[in-house]
């Protein structure tokens, strides 16, 4: 039914008189109209629910907007960079930023390594049961974080949790994983790696299709060891995949939020609070302007890190 204007328009072009320029320009107009019509529904919703909020959030970060201004968002005062200053001078936010940095610096390499190792093993090492392993490794990715949190808190129970019970078998007295300042963040890193390495595995599996098997065999005949072949053949071939995994994993981990939110509420003593979680807390306190500033700071860091990774990986 939406097609009717166009189907009607087409036959109106006089057959013989359809000199190329006129016919083409009329068709181009029809094409442009169709393009706009097909784009419109998405664009309207996109402008209302994504683009405008992005802009609003930026404006908000320069105002003193609070929860009490929710019905009159235009009746707020501009305060310049005050919210950004507040964020930087807040010791909890600084702690949150440091925790996020540790989480990213530990979590990203571990996730990528685990994903690549699993992908290599599945790509070359085994021919049977491949899909069983693949599904099994991917299961944590599709699981609700709330369900994951329930199960992991249960597993990490200090007294009768499975982890400490198993450690007990080999004579190790496991700590109170989530309750101890020294192990809480590490526990969350472990959980995040468990939950996310499946994604990078799947992407690496696709990327490994680009590796030239004959080159591998030739190198092996010339006496190149496994590690040498991996280093000089496999790794360069999957460079674009590596960049993609690195960038997307980093973007995700820089927004580290759900794990501390459901597992530890940021505790003990802010040991696991993350930048995103503290931003959310500011929203909860009703400090919308400050929360907006913090969200934009995270965005800024994400943009910078992404840019840097593109530069470094493109270099050679």
């Amino acid at each position: 039914m939406t097609a009717s204007p166009d189907t009607r328009a087409e036959p109106q072009i006089p057959r013989g008189a359809g000199s190329p320029p006129r016919g083409r320009s009329r068709r181009a107009a029809g094409e442009a109209r169709a393009g706009l019509l097909l784009s419109l529904p998405f664009l309207v919703l996109f402008l209302v629910f994504i683009a405008w909020p992005v802009l609003q959030s930026m404006i908000m970060s320069f105002t003193d907007m609070r929860i009490s201004d929710i019905r009159t968002p235009f009746a707020v005062e501009f305060v310049g960079l005050e919210n950004y200053r507040t964020a930087f001078s807040d010791p909890v936010f600084r702690r949150a930023a440091a925790n996020t940095a540790i989480f990213v610096l530990l979590g990203v390499p571990l996730t990528i390594t685990a994903g690549l190792a699993a992908a290599l093993a599945l790509d070359r090492g085994v021919s049977r049961l491949r899909s069983v392993f693949r599904i099994g490794f991917y299961t944590p990715v599709i699981t609700s974080i709330v369900a994951v949190a329930v199960v992991w808190r249960f597993l990490l129970q200090p007294e009768n949790g499975l982890v400490n019970t198993v450690l007990g078998w080999v004579g190790i007295d496991g700590p109170n994983w989530l309750g101890d300042e020294r192990t809480a963040l590490l526990s969350l890193v472990a959980m995040a790696v468990w939950r996310n390495f499946g994604t990078s595995m799947v992407i690496f599996l696709a990327g490994l299709q680009a590796v030239d098997r004959q080159l591998h065999e030739a190198a092996a005949l010339d006496g190149a060891g496994r590690w040498q072949r991996f280093r000089h053949i496999t790794l360069p071939s999957i460079r674009p995949t590596m960049l993609f995994v690195l960038v997307t994993t980093s973007i995700g981990y820089l927004q580290f939020f759900e794990e501390p939110f459901v597992m530890t509420s940021g505790g003990p003593l802010n040991a696991t609070i993350s930048a995103s979680m503290y931003t959310y807390n500011q929203f909860g306190f009703g400090n919308y302007g400050v929360a907006g500033a913090m969200a934009y700071l995270t965005f800024l860091v994400i943009a910078l890190v992404t840019l840097l990774q593109f530069r470094l990986m493109r270099e050679k």
């Binding site: 442009a32 529904p41 085994v126 699981t143 329930v150 468990w194 759900e258 995103s276």
Partner: protein, 272 residues
């Protein structure tokens, strides 16, 4: 070939790794069938000594049927919306030329990098001012359009030959009809991938419904479970594990059913 010298070791390592990865799920399902007394036992038991469905019974004394329904309605609506709007826009971006196309695509791509929290507060203010906070539409509307979906559909349509479009034009098929009658019927595989991805994302979505669904009538499963697990039932592990099982099992079944499309889809968007 060369690599297969010691497959036994690879299989052993992979199997050990697999067990490590899926132990939490096994522990969850087994635990949901144990009594509270048995759950607190030191050392813990593996198999339930006296398997019981009591935890699930207690779960359904709460309106968990309702939550399940809410989760389903929201996930289905969000999925359908993404398939419809993103395929239309994605096709236009891939094969039609119209004013502003490049800028629009750049704008959508830029939004892939923007953290969710940036839009969170304005979106919240928006649904409050629209008067729909605490209703199911508030859980659906902001997710009907997602930059990632457009990206995926555009990549897919780019992969379909342009000759189809030219042939349609020669046959006098209207521009919009070309999309609906020629390209859309070929989009099955992309729909499968995008559909399952969006469904999963919506089913597991947590923060937005937690903030916006302010009454029991509109809770989704993750919200309900999160609220139980932080309240007075914090240590009622039987109840919580039963709730976790209830969230995970349906999605696992859906995933097993569609996993081929799913994994291929992620892989292809990752490569391009």
């Amino acid at each position: 070939m060369i690599e297969r010298r010691r497959p036994v070791i690879t299989y052993l390592v992979l199997t050990a790794f697999l067990l490590l990865v899926i132990t939490p799920f096994i522990w969850m399902v087994l635990g949901s069938l144990k009594s509270q007394g048995e759950l607190l036992q030191v050392p813990p038991t593996w198999l339930p000594e006296q398997p019981t469905l009591d935890n699930f019974q207690r779960l359904f004394e709460r309106p968990f049927g309702r939550y399940f329904w809410n989760s389903t309605v929201v996930a289905v609506a969000v999925t359908v919306g993404n398939l419809v709007f993103s395929s239309m826009f994605g096709y236009a971006l891939a094969h039609l030329s119209f004013p502003g196309k490049k800028i629009l695509f750049a704008l959508v791509l830029a939004c892939l990098m923007i953290p969710g929290l940036v839009t969170f507060i304005p979106q919240y203010v928006l649904v409050v001012n629209m008067g729909i906070a605490g209703t199911l539409p508030a859980l659906i509307l902001p997710f009907l359009v997602q930059p990632f979906s457009v990206f995926l559909m555009r990549q897919f349509f780019l992969g379909l030959p342009r000759e189809l479009l030219e042939a349609g034009r020669i046959d006098g098929v209207g521009e919009i009809a070309i999309f609906f009658r020629i390209y859309l019927p070929l989009a099955g595989p992309a729909f499968a991938t995008l559909g399952i991805l969006t469904f999963l994302g919506s089913w597991n979505n947590f923060l937005w419904p937690l903030v916006v669904a302010s009454s029991e009538r509109t809770y989704t499963l993750p919200v309900a479970l999160a609220l139980i697990s932080t309240g007075q039932n914090q240590t009622d592990y039987g109840l919580l594990l039963a709730g976790a099982t209830l969230i995970v099992l349906p999605i696992l079944v859906v995933f097993l059913f569609f996993q081929r499309h799913f994994i291929q889809g992620i892989a292809t968007t990752g490569i391009k």
